[in-house]
């Protein structure tokens, strides 16, 4: 009798369903994340001559002036990008959460617009507008005899990156601000605090978790980003050094891989430091009352100032898009503030060819995003609701993808899957387009996972228990109660994954094996390699922005409609 009870109990403790799901996910992560990355970083620890384990390569790294300079440059650029991105995001977040401001919709769209443009295309456009002989500086020099070094050296990287990545801070910070109990602010006012002091001492610290999450993400993305510094010809940063090393200098020179390891370690460090900064500060109380901060109406002068700030930021944020659009209609644009003349012919050129790119992009990005939300939901559920031993590790490993630069993943895939022939055709597995989808899915999994986890955290356990109590099986409960309630978060995760996967280049460029399988970002890159191709390339870029923008907007509409139908109006 006792033995029977025991078996039953142990069965109940480890259900087969979650265990199977966990094993499948673990296998996926192992195969498409851990193995390829280990393949790459392995070389960093190999002696060049004997193949034995060594740390001498790391000693070389730290003894080398160029690498150390690159390291500090990367650090400086990342830190400054966080500063500039914060300067862009803070006023916007502050305005939307503290005031009754009609421009709020505008600001919300500001939060997504930069993300749907491939950053390397943005860099081209920014160079045309803000470069030494770009529109702004030519005009300034003509009228005032001055020029501003927006794009000189590291400045250019900081400028382009902070405009591209500031939405990460804006989105996270706004969400955090909205969750603050109004009483937190009122009690401070009651004790004599107001205005900016109130924001600095109470409101901002309470929004710290969101800010730190966004800022660390910006730091990591900038630290790892390859395309922007390369396009701006800034080579003495870590990611470009790794890429240059791996893709050209001495085929098996270990330094490229050493730099990859350094990149991964730094990203993990940044994540760890941000976790540490939040440790011991339990912000659970923040959400007790909820309801957001009190908003007040602005005085006329304040309103003017607010619109001026928003418009300035809007212009900055839209600058890459404006530049790209101008370029796509330009005949010749050379050493002049604006193009010599305008034409539609570039659109005609790309119209016929872009179909394949667009179909591929939509296919890859939506498959990758779908994979992300399925795995993200599963991991979130396993971590939060199951009692499987070691379940936390699924989360850790999936999140670690954030710290793996796209180039490293691309090279890892080539190394891991090239010698594996596909069934029937015998072609290398790494040439199969689905591999590209897996790479994109792995790269964007962290975004979707966080969105799904947050969504599941808001679904009370008792709702699930109620369903089970009424006789639903676990699987039915998940599909009929949990997933529908999570759908807002799941779709948000889908949108982020989709939009960012659609413009990804760094992993893509390593893995595209034939033109017919190439996505938009690759097509853009190819077009941008010739004098005659810049116009059509820009036109293709405009297509890319419009399509990804539309996709994002549509999913957003679907989310909102779904939410309204279920009466979760908030």
């Amino acid at each position: 009798m006792t033995s029977l009870a025991l078996t039953r109990e142990s069965i109940a403790r480890v259900r087969p369903g979650p265990a199977v799901a966990a094993v499948l996910i673990a296998l996926f992560l192992l195969l498409f994340l851990v193995v390829p990355v280990v393949q790459v970083i392995f070389v960093a620890f190999q002696d060049k001559t004997t193949g034995a384990f060594t740390l001498i390569n790391f000693a070389d790294f730290f003894r080398n002036d160029l690498f150390m300079r690159s390291f500090w440059n990367s650090f400086y650029v990342s830190a400054m990008s966080v500063v500039v991105a914060s300067a862009l995001a803070l006023p916007l977040a502050y305005l939307t959460t503290r005031f009754e401001f009609r421009g709020a919709v505008l600001i919300q769209s500001l939060g997504i617009i930069p993300l749907i443009m491939p950053p390397f295309i943005g860099a081209v456009a920014m160079q045309l507008l803000f470069g030494r002989n770009g529109t702004v500086n030519l005009l300034l020099r003509d009228h005032f005899g001055i020029s501003i070094p927006f794009m000189e050296g590291l400045n250019g990287v900081i400028f382009v990156q902070s405009i591209h990545y500031f939405p990460f801070i804006l989105i996270n910070l706004s969400a955090s601000l909205k969750n603050i109990d109004r009483a937190m602010e009122e009690s401070a006012q009651n004790l004599g605090c107001h205005g900016f002091r109130l924001f600095r001492r109470i409101v901002f610290p309470l929004a710290m978790p969101g800010y730190v999450a966004g800022a660390s993400l910006v730091f990591i993305k900038v630290f790892d980003d390859l395309g922007t510094p390369l396009l701006l010809n800034v080579n003495d940063m870590l990611a470009p050094q790794a890429y240059l090393r791996i893709s050209s200098i001495g085929i098996a020179d270990p330094m490229g891989y050493v730099i990859s390891v350094v990149l991964i370690v730094c990203s993990l460090l940044a994540l760890w430091v941000s976790a540490l900064a939040m440790k011991g500060k339990d912000y659970a109380t923040v959400q007790r009352g909820g309801g957001g901060l009190a908003r007040r109406r602005m005085k006329p002068l304040e309103l003017v100032a607010a619109y001026a700030v928003v418009l300035l930021i809007l212009v900055l944020v839209l600058a890459p898009h404006i530049g790209l659009t101008l370029l796509s209609f330009a005949t010749i644009w050379s050493f002049s503030p604006f193009p010599d003349a305008f034409t539609m012919k570039h659109y005609g050129t790309v119209f016929l060819e872009s179909g394949q790119y667009i179909t591929n992009t939509l296919l890859y990005a939506s498959l990758a995003a779908l994979l992300d939300v399925v795995i993200g939901t599963a991991i979130a559920y396993l971590v939060l609701r199951s009692k499987l031993p070691g379940r936390q590790w699924l989360d850790y490993i999936a999140m670690a993808a954030l710290a793996v630069p796209g180039v490293v993943l691309g090279i890892g895939y080539l190394r891991s899957f090239y010698d594996v022939p596909m069934p029937f055709t015998g072609q290398p597995l790494s040439g199969f387009w689905l591999i590209l989808v897996f790479a994109l899915a792995i790269r964007r999994l962290p975004y979707a996972l966080r969105a799904c986890t947050a969504a599941l955290q808001q679904v009370s356990n008792s709702l699930e228990e109620a369903a089970e109590n009424l006789g639903a099986t676990k699987l039915r409960t998940i599909s009929r109660v949990v997933v529908p309630l999570m759908s807002g978060g799941i779709l948000a995760g889908f949108v982020t994954s989709f939009a960012t996967a659609a413009v990804e280049l760094s992993a893509t460029i390593m893995l595209v094996h034939s033109q017919s399988d190439a996505p938009l970002a690759y097509g853009l890159y190819v077009y941008m390699q010739s004098a005659a191709g810049r116009g059509p390339g820009a036109a293709l870029g405009v297509f890319a922005v419009v399509i990804v923008g539309l996709g994002t907007y549509l999913s957003h509409v679907i989310i909102e409609r779904g939410r309204r139908e279920r009466g979760q109006d908030h």
Partner: protein, 448 residues
């Protein structure tokens, strides 16, 4: 149900029969080409080729030259590429050395042995030249006018103080074509003098781009005024309407751009057809298109070219000054790249500071001559020019060994690790540039 199945089987049989029949007469199937050429060139050839051979599906894979070589090496174990198609002969030498190409003798007649001083085809037939290109100087005329700069003619012109911060080049380690430019100057002027010229020009660099196209792109948009580029970049930009001009300096090499069949090519028959096609009159004419503008290797094609089209088979001054030695180039390929990166690319700030000081001292001394100052200035110039390795050392396989990892057995000795060598050179350059700047500043002080 079974009738449908029968139908499908019959259709399949017909399809199979027809495709095997076609294979017997005409090449067909997928042809995979790895290339560093821009879309304008590849898609023009693609269209022309597909028109002539509709049964072949041409798959073009765009990689820069070095990445393309790397790609072929990494994928050699399970090769899926038929052709490698790129400019730099050196890249083909690397592939040939690694035994990754297979010989083919094109069937096309009438192509000469040499263009300029350079042999068009690989003597062993591993790769064939299909278009010639020369290296030169390109500039944006609006930029030059706005900055009141004179048009340059020779490499040495670019070293003049007036061009300070106006010139751009792509890193030779990233661009096969730039590597050839640098190597041409080294072979034309000799190792020591050649590097001196290279570094004096480099002192005027505004930027060193990561991609070959970064240079014409910057000149076209006016980000910088002058670029050191391969001719077709300039010619095609001009043809696209950009306000740019181009000149071949006396010391230049007309070098063929090449195509080679990859070893174990999956579709060898189609690959051979493609090679013959691009050498045929039909293929050679594609090179004259405004967006491409390369020099055909078939002299007959020039009859159809515009009047001012450069013709290396007629204009003997083009590219005949330097007898380009592929073997010398090959022996020190990696060393030259690494030297350029360590002495110039990654020390550009120090080099520019020294150059600026030298220019200022030079100008001051011209107004107020001073022998001691002149001596100091000469010392400063020598400090900039001095090289950490001699021509002999650069060609030494021992040194080159640091840059390749042909580790045939665990006991093979590699004298130094690449990172170590590089650090040594970088420190050498950094110290010398700082010292040169100090000397030049002293000279300037004397001229005040």
């Amino acid at each position: 149900m079974s009738r449908t199945l029968h139908g499908v089987a019959a259709a399949l049989a017909v399809l199979l029969a027809s495709s095997t029949a076609a294979f017997a007469q005409d090449p067909s199937g997928k042809l995979v080409v790895v290339t560093s050429f821009p879309k304008d060139l590849t898609s023009a050839f693609q269209q022309a080729f597909q028109k002539a051979y509709p049964k072949v599906t041409l798959e073009v894979l765009n990689r820069n030259t070095n990445a393309g070589v790397k790609y072929l090496q990494e994928t050699a174990s399970n090769n899926g590429t038929d052709l490698f198609w790129a400019s730099a002969p050196d890249a083909f030498e690397v592939l040939k050395g690694a035994n990754l190409l297979q010989a083919y003798k094109p069937k096309v007649e009438g192509i000469p042995e040499k263009v300029g001083a350079y042999p068009i085809n690989d003597p062993e037939g591993m790769y064939a030249g299909f278009a010639a290109s020369g290296y030169g100087i390109m500039w944006n005329s609006r930029y030059m006018k706005a900055n009141e700069l004179p048009a340059p003619k020779e490499w040495s012109d670019l070293a003049k103080p007036v061009y300070y911060d106006h010139v751009a080049i792509s890193a030779p380690s990233r661009s096969g074509t730039t590597h050839l430019t640098i190597e041409t100057i080294l072979q034309g002027e000799g190792w020591e003098k050649g590097w001196r010229t290279n570094k004096e020009i480099a002192g005027n660099y505004r930027t060193i781009t990561e991609r070959s196209f970064g240079v014409p792109d910057g000149v076209n948009s006016g980000s910088f005024g002058i670029g050191i580029v391969i001719d077709f970049f300039a010619l095609s930009s001009q043809a696209s309407g950009f306000p740019v001009e181009f000149v071949y300096p006396t010391v230049t090499t007309i070098v063929p751009a090449n195509i080679g069949i990859v070893k174990n090519a999956p579709n060898k028959a189609a690959a051979e057809t493609f090679v013959d096609f691009i050498l045929s009159p039909q293929g050679q004419e594609v090179l004259l298109q405004p967006a491409i503008r390369r020099l055909p290797v078939n002299p007959a094609t020039y009859a159809k070219a515009p009047a001012d089209y450069p013709n290396p088979f007629k204009d003997t001054s083009l590219g005949s000054q330097v007898n380009f030695d592929v073997e010398v180039s090959q022996a020190r390929y990696n060393v030259v790249d690494a030297l350029f990166d360590q002495l110039i690319t990654f020390q550009l700030d120090g080099l520019k500071a020294a150059t600026r000081a030298i220019h200022q001292a030079d100008a001051a001394l011209a107004k107020k001559p001073n022998d001691k100052g002149k001596a100091l200035l000469a010392e400063a110039r020598d400090l900039v020019a001095v090289m950490p390795v001699t021509a002999q050392e650069a060609a030494d396989p021992q040194l080159a060994g640091a840059f390749t990892v042909e580790r045939k057995s665990a006991t093979d000795a590699v004298p130094e690790r690449q990172a170590q060598v590089e650090q040594k050179w970088a420190a050498f350059a950094k110290d010398n540039y700082a010292a040169a700047r100090k000397k030049a500043e002293e000279a300037l002080a004397l001229a005040r």
